[in-house]
Amino acid sequence: MSQLSYLDASRQAIAEEMRRDPRVWALGEDLGRGGVFGQYRGLAEEFGPARIADTPISEATIMGAAVGAAMVGSRPVVEMRFSDFALCAVDELVNQAAKARYMFGGQGRVPLVVRQPIGMWRSSAAQHSQSLEAWYAHIPGLVVVAPATPADNYGLLKSAIRCDDPVVYMEHKDLWPALGEVPADAENGLVPLGEGRLVRRGDDVTIVTWSRMVQVVEAAADEPDTPSLEIIDLRTLWPWDRAMVLDSVRRTGRCLIVHEAVQAGGFGGEIAATVGEALFGALKAPVRRLGAPRIPVAYAPVLEAESRIMPAKVAAAARAMV
């Protein structure tokens, strides 16, 4: 084990996978100088500019080229900088990457990882703050991952790179500096795709959450008046760990889903609908969701705050359920 930041954990994961498998490479803008957040710092020096490829500002082709490269056997890690810019490459991800294996009757596969940093971060406003994980969970053929801790960013990124299908990998920009223990041993640190993490046991309300909201929910749980919270970090949104969620809610009888994304049409709806259907009768309170209002993220901190879920809001919502 060693203490690493969320950012360094991802860097180490890529470096190890690139050492292990010569087919792995990364492509995106500014990677040669470490990438916009420093997630690739030092990698060009170790692996050279061919495998840490500096690209033009061509999101559609960064993604599309990765699809072609993956189909003929390489394993690209695609850097989109901000998930918002991935909106310039949706055809390539959704019509091509996600469907190629299927459309071609299994003749080819598209083993790529597309890193799409999400979330609110330093007053970045409406075009640099979105969390659209719900979109990708809706698309057959895509795996969707949203790690909350350094250990998970290490272990899940490695699993994503080893996955034979396209993975939408959403790191949260506000988590880059977060520190945590990360298993130093390369193979033991792998985190399987599709498994949730039980963050904390509790009795009264099961909170299902992911990404940056895990910390927020933990803070809420520590507030004095908060009921006893069982916290599940979903980690992978598709496939999501239904079993872990249902087992927990069966026990607590209450479920609150918390996500940073807009609540309307967010992935919380999928979870709420599933829990509501599977545990009808076993619920002590209606399943609730807490997500951002359906407004763009504004620039001024006081306005941006309207889109933010804060611990007090989570605590209040949990209290209202018991």
């Binding site: 061509s58 699809v67 690209p76 294996r101």
Partner: protein, 352 residues
């Protein structure tokens, strides 16, 4: 440069030899004749099958454009890759794909090239390096470029050829993909099949500037124009461009002018162009031109007729086999989605 005739791998070439034009021998031209006849026969058969209700989805026929497919693909090795567009039957056949599997795919049968999952717009045959048609105009360009990128990264000598239409040059991926190919100096040959139309629209009405070649050159990629209905010209030009690409000279661009003799889709009567214009272009169509050349070169018309008859017989067989082939099992719909979610085939009920 060994340039095998890949139109029917394994089949014996025509035994006629000797030069006809330039230093191209009759066998090679006859090979083109055969490839083009096979494409034409396939398209005609597919069209008839569609009228008869055996093909459910949209079909874009390449009738009139066979010379581009044949002239380019004859210069490719089986291991080389091609990426195609919605009008891809010709490219696919010329690259060596099995006609029966293609027709079965149009019919949505289990024996189809994609097991019936893709249909005409998603035909692929990875065994012969055919990485897929595409339902999205221009989307094949970045894919081709990426495949070439992977070849270069791996030090793999195979090259990639990317077919697209004149309509695709107005989509962003054209600029992005060509720029990328040149920046990374990739082994890719771009082939713009300029048939004058994008669906019902004349491309010149929606295309500014001097055209595809000038755009390619503005991105640092040399462009070579060619009469796309002259299979020999296409062959000879493509041969040189393929040689350059293989030699590491970076991406090349072939601008082939041709004409789409049929509607945009098989059910489009194309009322937006005068009958006289179409008729005029029928006089210029590549198979007749190739035949004239062969006859001029001394080939027996009976032999040529036999080639056509063989092609038609093959297409008829493809239709018959396709119609006799089983429909896929419904459970097949659940396979090849993604491993992590659906490790085995089967509906969720079955998996629960």
């Amino acid at each position: 440069m060994p340039a095998p005739l890949v139109d029917r791998p394994g089949e014996s070439r025509a035994d006629a030899t000797g030069p006809i034009r330039g230093n191209v021998d009759r066998a090679r031209i006859l090979g083109h004749y055969r490839t083009m006849a096979r494409v034409r026969a396939f398209e005609e058969a597919a069209d008839r099958a569609l009228q008869a209700g055996h093909v459910k989805g949209a079909v874009h026929l390449s009738i009139g454009q066979e010379a581009v497919a044949s002239g380019v693909c004859v210069n490719l090795d089986r291991g080389d890759f091609i990426v195609s567009n919605h009008r891809g039957h010709g490219h696919t056949l010329a690259k060596g794909a099995d006609m029966g599997a293609m027709m079965a795919e149009l019919f949505g049968r289990a024996t189809g090239a994609c097991q019936g999952k893709g249909g005409s717009m998603h035909i692929a045959d990875f065994q012969v390096g055919m990485l897929g048609a595409n339902g999205v105009v221009g989307a094949g360009i970045p894919i081709a470029v990426g495949a070439a990128h992977a070849m270069k990264l791996a030090g793999d000598p195979r090259i990639v050829t990317c077919f697209f239409g004149d309509g695709a040059i107005n989509r962003g991926p054209f600029l992005e993909g060509l720029n990328w190919a040149k920046v990374f100096d990739l082994p890719v040959l771009f082939v713009c099949e300029d048939n004058g139309f994008a669906a019902t629209t004349r491309t010149r009405a929606v295309t500014a500037g001097p055209g595809p070649g000038a755009r390619a050159e503005s991105l640092g990629i040399p462009s070579t124009p060619v009469d796309g209905n002259d299979v020999l010209a296409v062959d000879q030009t493509a041969a040189e461009l393929v040689r350059l690409v293989r030699a590491g000279a970076g991406p090349q661009f072939l601008h082939a002018r041709t004409y789409r003799l049929r509607g945009h889709t098989a059910v489009d009567p194309a009322p937006y162009r005068p009958a006289a214009e179409v008729e005029e272009h029928w006089r210029d169509e590549p198979i007749r031109r190739c035949r004239d050349l062969l006859v001029l070169g001394g080939l027996d018309t009976d032999e040529l007729d036999r080639v056509v008859a063989d092609a038609e017989a093959e297409a008829a067989r493809a239709v018959a086999d396709g119609l006799a082939a089983p429909h896929p099992e419904a459970d097949l719909a659940w396979t090849d989605v993604q491993d992590v979610d659906m490790p085995g085939a089967g509906r969720p009920e079955a998996r629960a």
